[in-house]
């Protein structure tokens, strides 16, 4: 593992809070991104990813420095995101989310009075559409697809994060990929 990261973690283990903020600066975007893609909502993404870092800080003693830190951290984050999805609705669909007033989609997190160049608008619409398609996947396929295609992680790492055997990760990616294909092929 990165020696700098390891040093920072040893400081955190001693109780140094300032070191923890350095650690957050390294990983916050990745954690936030994974959680955002899982939940599809900026408010909840912020809430859950902050919770993930708080848990990481509280449980830093249980982290084994011989293992990859990002794996441990992403595991906390994906578990919290999956918990959040479970609590929300038994069958979570994007239609419900759009109907809710408190929910923000990717596009609407940018203030509306801001003038945007048209190509950027198109790009954001495209982004929103990709996110909608990801949200249509059942959470267990969604997490595997996000970790593989958006975080570019190996099947082994995904297995460690999701606490699944590699064979199961493969199956989930195949099924998630098939589900996406059926929706995207005519686009």
């Amino acid at each position: 593992m990165d020696i700098v990261v390891k040093k920072i973690i040893l400081e955190v283990k001693k109780g140094n809070q300032e070191a923890f903020s350095e650690l957050m600066d390294i990983y916050k975007d990745k954690v936030y991104h994974i959680v955002y893609r899982m939940l599809g909502n900026v408010h909840e993404a912020q809430d859950v990813s902050q919770e993930a870092f708080l848990r990481a800080f509280m449980n830093i003693d249980s982290y084994d420095t011989n293992r990859k830190f990002s794996t441990w951290l992403f595991r906390i984050a994906t578990n919290l995101a999956i918990d959040r999805l479970r609590k929300k609705k038994p069958n979570f669909h994007l239609e419900d989310q759009v109907a809710g007033t408190e929910d923000l989609t990717y596009y609407s997190q940018f203030s509306s009075d801001e003038e945007l160049p048209e190509d950027q608008v198109v790009q954001w619409e495209m982004q929103e559409w990709v996110q909608e398609e990801i949200m249509q996947l059942p959470p267990k396929y969604r997490s595997a697809i996000i970790l593989k295609y958006l975080e570019d992680l190996s099947l082994k790492e995904i297995g460690e994060i999701l606490n699944l055997p590699v064979a199961t990760v493969k199956t989930r990616i195949h099924r998630g990929r098939e589900a996406l294909r059926k929706r995207l092929r005519h686009s």
Partner: protein
Amino acid sequence: MACSKENIVLIHKYLDNEMTLLEIKQFQQHINKCSDCEKHLQELRKTEAITQSASHVKAPSNFTENVMGKLPKQPASQKWKHRLRKHPFMITAATFFLVFIISLSSAFGGDGNDIVVKGDGHFIVDEQRGVVVIPEGEHISGDLIVRNGDIEIAGEVTGSITVINGEHLMASADQVSGEIEEINQVMDWLWYETKAFLSEVVAFMSTENEENEENN
């Protein structure tokens, strides 16, 4: 419409780069003949490309601050402990109350480059970095003079600060109630004046300190 289940499994295996060279060759031969599998593979490739095009969203700008604000509050003494850890070369050279005057030279008046501090309170001298530190939670009542060293103020100083041949560093201007002056030229008169005053008190203080150390 679709080809056999076995062949669809092969398409995924192919996409995951998990085929031997022979398997790849056989698979490609099948793709060339079977339009269903060819189409299926194309659609999956397109799916992968669209999924990967999802851009990386960044955490909001106040993210770290928000979390740091939610961490359990540390007692001041513990914070100070971390400061010490953060600077492994920091030496707690002395703890003086009432009037303290310190020179780190073994023979006072040696090369004239040693850190000299004059003030009243609790401080730490980091000889390696050449910094006099007023720790957080500590309070210096009255004026403070530092010569040949920088001063780092995390605590409070009620008087004025004079830094000769050094710089001052502090978290906020509220921490010093008086004025801060940096004198970085050789000002002989001040030095000699201080030195004259120091020699008297150091002689007096050194006997005091030995007594204190024995008591501790």
